[in-house]
Every structure is written in C-alpha cells, then in structure tokens.
C-alpha cells in the first residue's frame, strides 16, 4: 500500500472517531442555547434562558448538591482503601496476590443492577436508606478497582529500591510510607480520586435504586424530568455535566500532567 492511501485511511478513521465521539456533546451544547421551546438541533435562535431556568429550578439545584455530596463521600471512602491496596499489591511481596487482585476486581464482574439491588437490600436492612451518603459508599464500592488500578500503575513505575533507600536513610516503616511511598504515588492517587468523583457524579443505575423522592441525585432527577416532558433545559443540565467532567480533566492535567516529571529515572 502506498503511503498516501495509508494516510487517507488513517485520517478518515481519525475523522470518523472525532465526529462520533464529539457529536453528542456538540448537539447537546447547540440544543441548550435554543430560544425555542422544544429540543432541536441546529438550535432555533440563541438564548441562555434554559440555563436561567435550571439555575432557578430548586429541585435541580438540590439534586446537584446531593450529587456533589455523593461524589465527595465516594472519594473519601474509596481513596484511602484504593491507595493502600494499590500500593500493597504492587510494592510489597504478599501471599495470594492474585487471589486478592481477583477479589478486589469482583465489583466489575457483577452487573450494576445486581450490586445495586444487593446494596439496596443490605442498606434497607441497616435502615440507612433515605440518606444521601450511602449512595456515595455504594459508588465507592462499585468503582473501587479504578482507584486500585490508577495507584498500582503509579506504584509499579517507581524504582523498586525507593523504600530500601528510605530505610537506609534511617526511616522506619511508617516514615517510609508517609514521606516516600505515598508522595511518590501521588499522581496515581490524584487521578484515581478525580476519576471516582466524576464516576460518582454521573452514576445512574445504583443511584436510582438507592434514592427516593427526598434523596434523588442529579442523573436520577434528569431521568425523572425526561419521563414527563423533554424541554431544552435537559440539554442545559447535560452541558453542566460536561463542564464538570472538563473541569476534572483540566485539574488532572494541572496536577498530574506533572506525573511524567515525577517519575524516577
């Protein structure tokens, strides 16, 4: 094959990927600024009235607030567990490493609807349903492997002698972990934390099962709205979601773009 036809195929594939990946976002963005009363693309005129409407809508604001709480709880619960597990599995010689790995990845093997119903039953039994924070705990459980992976890959990239060097410098076990291992895997911890935040923010199925009218999160609230009437304010909410995700990516780049510099040679 000639290089020009290779180039053609390459750029065609790139073009298709870019279009299919960005199309939903572009359509939603366009639809959200319509001045008409129905969702339409291309938009019918330009106005920010739908943003104004969602800003005024009390139930949406409350749902967003609850989703932020869910995400925060999820990060607080999953980060310490995932970080310690990720470090332990890559840097210390443990017995049954494979078994532990499989066990920690179990949340991925169970369909979300299954784990959602399971947790609904357990949380119901404990009488904690009807609160917002258990949704965060549930998100932490189902997405835990993401933090473990993120921290593990950071930890695996470090020089194996790093901890020995710390001990040689006079650091005890705890000091070695606190001053050397943990800071050195921080890029992975930050990546994992932001990932967990966004995943919990957008988690729908498990939220749907664990919330009631008083505790709906943003994705569930949007779903409820769709069921009644589809208006451009839904597109505006979706844009808010996209912006939250973009902020996370931006933060990631600012904080962990440093990762390549932090790696020890």
């Amino acid at each position: 094959m000639t290089s020009s036809s290779q180039k053609l195929i390459f750029w065609t594939l790139v073009g298709i990927s870019i279009i299919t990946l960005s199309m939903p976002t572009i359509i939603v963005l366009g639809a959200s600024v319509t001045s008409g009363n129905i969702i339409a693309f291309p938009p019918d005129g330009f106005s920010l009235k739908w943003y104004e409407k969602i800003a005024m809508a009390r139930e949406l604001r409350l749902a967003l607030w609850r989703s932020l709480i869910v995400s925060t709880v999820c990060v607080i619960v999953s980060l310490p567990v995932g970080t310690v597990a990720g470090i332990a599995l890559t840097r210390y010689r443990l017995k049954f490493v494979n078994l532990i790995n499989i066990y920690l990845l179990l949340p991925f093997t169970v369909p979300l609807i299954g784990s959602g119903i399971g947790m609904m039953l357990v949380f119901g039994e404990w009488g904690i349903l009807g609160n917002v924070w258990p949704v965060g705990v549930a998100c932490a459980v189902i997405n835990l492997p993401f933090v473990i992976w993120s921290v593990s890959s950071s930890a695996a990239a470090l020089d194996r002698d790093l901890e020995l060097a710390a001990e040689n410098c006079g650091a005890g076990r705890m000091e070695t972990f606190w001053y050397v291992t943990l800071p050195a895997v921080m890029p992975g911890v930050i990546t994992g934390g932001l990932l967990m935040f966004v995943l919990a923010m957008t988690e729908f199925l498990v939220s749907l099962l664990l919330t009631d009218a008083r505790t709906v999160t943003l994705p569930v609230q949007i779903y409820n709205n769709i069921r009644s009437i589809i208006t451009p304010d839904l597109a505006a909410i979706s844009v808010v979601f996209v912006v939250i995700a973009l902020i996370a990516v931006w933060l990631l780049d600012r904080l962990v773009g440093l990762e390549i510099f932090l790696k020890s040679k």
Binding site: D159, L162, K263
Partner: protein
Amino acid sequence: MFMSDLQLDSASRAERSVAVSVRGVTMDFGSGSPAVKDASFDVETGSFLTILGPSGSGKTTLLRMIAGFQKPTQGTITIAGKPVDADPPNRRSIGMVFQKLALFPHMTAAENVAFPLKMRRTNPAEISGKVEKFLNLVKLDGYAERRPHELSGGQQQRVAIARALVFEPELLLLDEPLAALDRKLREEMQLEFRRIQKELGVTTINVTHDQREALVVSDDIIVMDQGLIQQHDRPVGLYRAPNNLFVASFIGVSTFIDGTLTADGLKVGDLLLPGSATPEATLGAPARGAVRAEQLRIGAGPEALAGCEIEMDGKVEDVIFEGERLIYVVGCERAPDIKFQIYHHDPHSFDIFEIGSPVRIGWHGKDMKIFNHDA
C-alpha cells in the same frame, strides 16, 4: 621496587583498626546452591574495598546483607565493633548509593540530602548547614532546588552520594551506581568517588563487575564467583599473582595453554613451557598456563624478542586496533589449538603486521602462571 609503595607491610596493616568484619556469612535462598557461601573478611577503617565479580556471583547479595536488607542464613556482620545482625537497616549507620540511585522523585536535591538528617531528628538549622556543606562537597552548589529529573545523570549521582554521606555514616556502600553511565562519565565519577572517599576518610565497600573500575578506585579487592570469595588482595597483588584460574581470566586479558604440570613446567604435547605454578597445582595433574597479553612479545624476527626464554614462529590471524594499542591474534604451528592474544604498543611507529604475516612471538618463562585445571 615500586611495589613497596603500593603495598603496606603487614606491621602497619595490623595497626589499622577494622571498620567492618564479616565472619562466616552464608545466604541460602533455598534454591540450588547458596548465593553466598561462608564469606569472611575485614575492611580497614577508611579504606576502599571493591567486591568484584560477574553477575550472579553473590556480590550484590553480600552488600545487601551488610546494609541489612537481607538476613544472612548464617554468620555475623560487625560494624565499628558492634554486631549488627539484629539491627534493621534504619538502625545501621550505613550510607548507600543504589544501582538506580533511588532518589526520591518528589523531593528536590536539597530535600533528598536533608532526608537522612530529618529522619534522625537533627535540628533544622544544623540540617541546612550540613546540606549546604555536602552539596558543596559533591560540587552541586546552585542545584539545591532542582528535582532529580531536572538533573543530568552525573548530577543525580552526586545527589545520591551526598545523601548517603550527609549523616556521616560509619560505612558507605556503593551498589554498582556507575554501571549505567557512559564510559567517559563513568571514569570521571570513579575518580570523583575516590576523591570524596579520601577527603572524608569514610570506609567504603563498592560492588562492581567492571575490573578496570575495581583496579582504579580500590585499596583492596575481593573477587567473587559462584558465591565464594576467590581472592582478597591489593589491586597490584591481584593482578600480578592471581590465586586461581577464575581470577586470572576475570582480570586482564590472558592466553591460556592447557597441558600437564611437570617439575620443569607445563608439558603441552612435545613442548615443555617453563612457568611458575601456584602452590595448589599438583605435579602430573592437568594444568592450565596463563600469560598476560602485555607480557607476550611480537616481532618480525628473533631480534625483537631479546631475553625471552620461549620463542615460537606464528602467523597473524587477526588485528584489532584500539587506538592506544593493537591486539594481535596469533596462531602457531607448534601449538595449533591456541590463539595467542598479544598487546602491541609502539608510540613512535604505526607499522602494523598484516593478517597472514609470519611473525615470531615469545615470553619470559616466569610470566606464565600455572594453575590446577580440572579438564
């Protein structure tokens, strides 16, 4: 004799104190033969010892046991008169430069150097003074605020040395930290290690597979192979009088000649080659003679070989040009299985024997060492 300058006589050796004493240390990982077998040696205070050996010889295991990262299966290690077998690594007063340096990537050069002091609860004013002093010692003033990735390979080495020495340890361990550097930088850093070691007078144990490095930097060398100490000697002694075949072949370039040991020398077919046999070599047993490449002479005719007891006609089979010298590979009809490797160095002439040229080679009988050789 020049030798006397390089070798301390036994009396003055005995006066020196012992910084590290290793007694009967064995490390058995339980898979096949032990990694280190019954190693015993002393390191004089302030001296620079190199443990030299090929990979898998047990040299790194031995170093890690001294550092406390691995517990010997048997034996005792004493540092500054105190047995350290029960002490974890962080309680031993040992600085170490790791093979891949293991600098803390999230800390600046100054923070890396300050770390051992911080762990020893030194007061902050003293820490900053010492960090400055040691960065100065390794010629890194002005680089204090750089992170390891912002420093060149040589500068990273210097940070690692400063970190290992800043708390004034009883002992400095070097785990092949120069192996990854290119040749020029490596040779520069070897001399730098030597300078710093002499300046501080810190007892040092260095591990390497590089025989040149060992000869250049060390006061003493231990040669290891297959977990056993093969020889412990001063560099000159080691080079001049290798104990056994392994040491003879690992250090320097030699031509080896197989035969049988007789009272008059090595018998190879109908040839009788005079030489000096090691005490272990037994008469009548298979033996192997070794002549160093620089001890072999080469010339167009007998006149170039004045004084050689052994002379042979040969033919140049290969010529390797190394810049400051040539290596000739010569085959001889009288010893058909042997390829003689001969260094040739003449700073005033670049006359080179072509491949296929007839030449005459020779050597002094005393230059051939004869070892036991189990064929």
